[in-house]
């Protein structure tokens, strides 16, 4: 473990990975409870379109991905309020983002290898600038989550009663999807577009298996995600395997172990 910390790139990878683990696993618990698990995956694919557009038109790809992701998150929310089913609303934007990405890639030949790094992540290539962006937006995201924590919890439990108690449910829902959009874009560099939703869905689902209270479930979700980042990066360092894939494999293994433990325990 000490060897790992001697390398600057590993230090940055660990810091970035742990920050993203905290943000995504917290937002993920709300999404999973709201039956919006696929939102992260949908927004990640939409971001693919944003990345491709940024590269095509010469913008900073993370910025264009952020704009695409946030606007699509609000669009999905709007469709849901217009009585389009939530999963269908996600699928519509998901398809559009991916289609746009594919079209732009086919129109240019120069940026396919860069695009590859966003698809599969390159946590070991996280630079100081990336770290600053992740820290800045990440802290902002956690602060907003803390401000709306009570309302998000109430809405996740019982939307109608939350509304009857005077909470502006539509606005708070929009806050949640925008935060999810930001978290997705921040996570792309670390685990890649194809694996982003794993950080949102798996720690939360594992925490739910442990049947605790709400606050404790958030802490469990964060703990599982942070541990997976540390274990996955260590594994990738010594076994020389892809970092993003290693982290997600650890996440899934923990989920499977908890599930097995629960299954055996209930017999």
């Amino acid at each position: 473990m000490i060897d790992i910390l001697e390398y600057g790139f590993m230090q940055r990878a660990l810091i970035a990975g742990m920050m993203i683990a905290v943000i995504c696993s917290t937002i993920g618990l709300f999404l999973v409870l709201r039956r919006m698990s696929m939102l992260g995956d949908g927004l990640a694919h939409i971001s693919f379109g944003g990345i491709a557009a940024g590269m095509f038109f010469g913008f900073y790809p993370v910025l264009s991905a952020l704009i695409f992701s946030v606007l699509s998150a609000l669009g999905i929310q709007k469709l849901r309020s217009m009585k389009v089913y939530g999963d269908a609303a996600i699928a519509i934007f998901f398809s559009f983002g991916l289609a746009l990405g594919v079209v732009l890639v086919s129109m240019s030949n120069g940026f396919n290898s860069d695009l590859f790094s966003y698809l599969f992540g390159s946590i070991l290539a996280v630079g100081v600038t990336d770290l600053i962006i992740i820290a800045g937006l990440g802290i902002g995201t956690m602060l907003i989550l803390a401000i709306f924590y009570k309302e998000l919890f109430f809405i996740a439990f019982d939307e109608e009663c939350a509304k009857a108690s005077g909470i502006n449910v539509e606005n708070i829902n929009s806050v949640l999807v925008v935060l999810a959009a930001v978290a997705v874009v921040l996570s792309m560099k670390v685990v890649g577009i194809l694996l982003v939703s794993s950080f949102m869905v798996i720690p939360a689902s594992t925490a739910l298996l442990l049947r605790s209270g709400f606050r404790n479930s958030i802490f469990l979700s964060i703990g599982i995600a942070v541990f997976s980042v540390i274990a996955g990066l260590t594994l990738s360092f010594y076994a020389d395997i892809a970092a993003g894939g290693a982290v997600v494999t650890v996440l899934v293994s923990i989920f499977a172990m908890v599930l097995l433990y629960k299954k055996l325990g209930s017999k």
């Binding site: 709306f148 439990f157 005077g166 739910l208 049947r211 209270g213």
Partner: protein, 250 residues
């Protein structure tokens, strides 16, 4: 009898329709401070719709609704109203929340945005749990309790807001009949303490034994003062023509 004071709920010629079907037709009634009102009617008669209009979860097509003397469109003091929804026992049983966390929701509006619950808020939560006899379950997961216990937790959540008006939509559906008796005793106690109550039910017998005013709903609303007893005529309005009044002896 209670001394009746200010009007807490006022419906004037309210109409509401879902698509093409009129669900609530020309409804007018008023509820004053301290009343214990029963709202009865067959399934699909519009009881829950009236409750949702009262909570501003739905907007009337026409007519006027006033809460605590304020037009519902401008009303913002939702802390005054406690609501126990019909589906309270049918929520996600796997939801990760303790009994204490669920009842805490009743204090969220009071605590304000971005602020954790104060010691005073927590005392209100404990007090509400004690009132419904669920304090010893505070750390248990809500989904691990029985239907009757869950219902009491939801009432505690509504009580934690310190409401002046408590609306209960079919609160005893799915609740053990042995528990129902103590539940109605609790409601009477709350009413004596000054809380105005609206109890929605399709169980005519239970409602008529406990309330002082009856709203018979069947798309329209008929109001009956039954503080001096209930007559068949008071009830046929809602259940006509099949209604047979069954005497209850307790």
């Amino acid at each position: 009898m209670h001394t009746l004071g200010e009007r807490i709920v006022d419906f004037k010629n309210v109409n509401f329709s879902f698509g093409s079907g009129l669900a609530v037709e020309n409804v007018s009634f008023s509820i004053s401070k301290g009343e214990f009102v029963g709202m009865i009617g067959p399934n699909g008669s519009g009881k829950s719709t009236i409750v949702k209009l009262m909570l501003h979860l739905l907007n009337p097509d026409s007519g006027k609704i006033m809460l605590f003397g304020t037009d519902i469109q401008q009303f913002a003091d939702w802390k005054k109203i406690g609501y126990v929804p019909q589906k309270a026992t049918f929520f996600d049983q796997n939801f990760p929340a303790t009994v204490f966390e669920v009842v805490s929701m009743g204090r969220f509006a009071n605590a304000g945005l971005g602020k954790p619950l104060s010691q005073n808020d927590k005392e209100h939560v404990i007090d509400a749990l004690r009132q419904v006899g669920m304090l010893e379950y505070a750390k248990r997961r809500i989904g691990d309790l029985s239907g009757g216990q869950q219902q009491r937790v939801f009432i505690a959540r509504a009580l934690a807001t310190k409401p002046e008006l408590l609306i209960l939509d079919e609160p005893t559906v799915g609740v053990d009949s042995r528990i129902q008796h103590s539940f109605y005793q609790l409601l009477k106690k709350l009413n004596k303490a000054g809380i105005t109550l609206i109890l929605v039910s399709h169980d005519v017998g239970v409602v008529s034994r406990n309330v002082s005013k009856l709203l018979c709903v069947n798309r329209k609303v008929n109001v009956h003062d039954i503080s001096n007893g209930i007559s068949k005529a008071d009830l046929t309005c809602a259940y006509y023509p099949e209604f047979e009044m069954v005497p209850h002896h307790h």
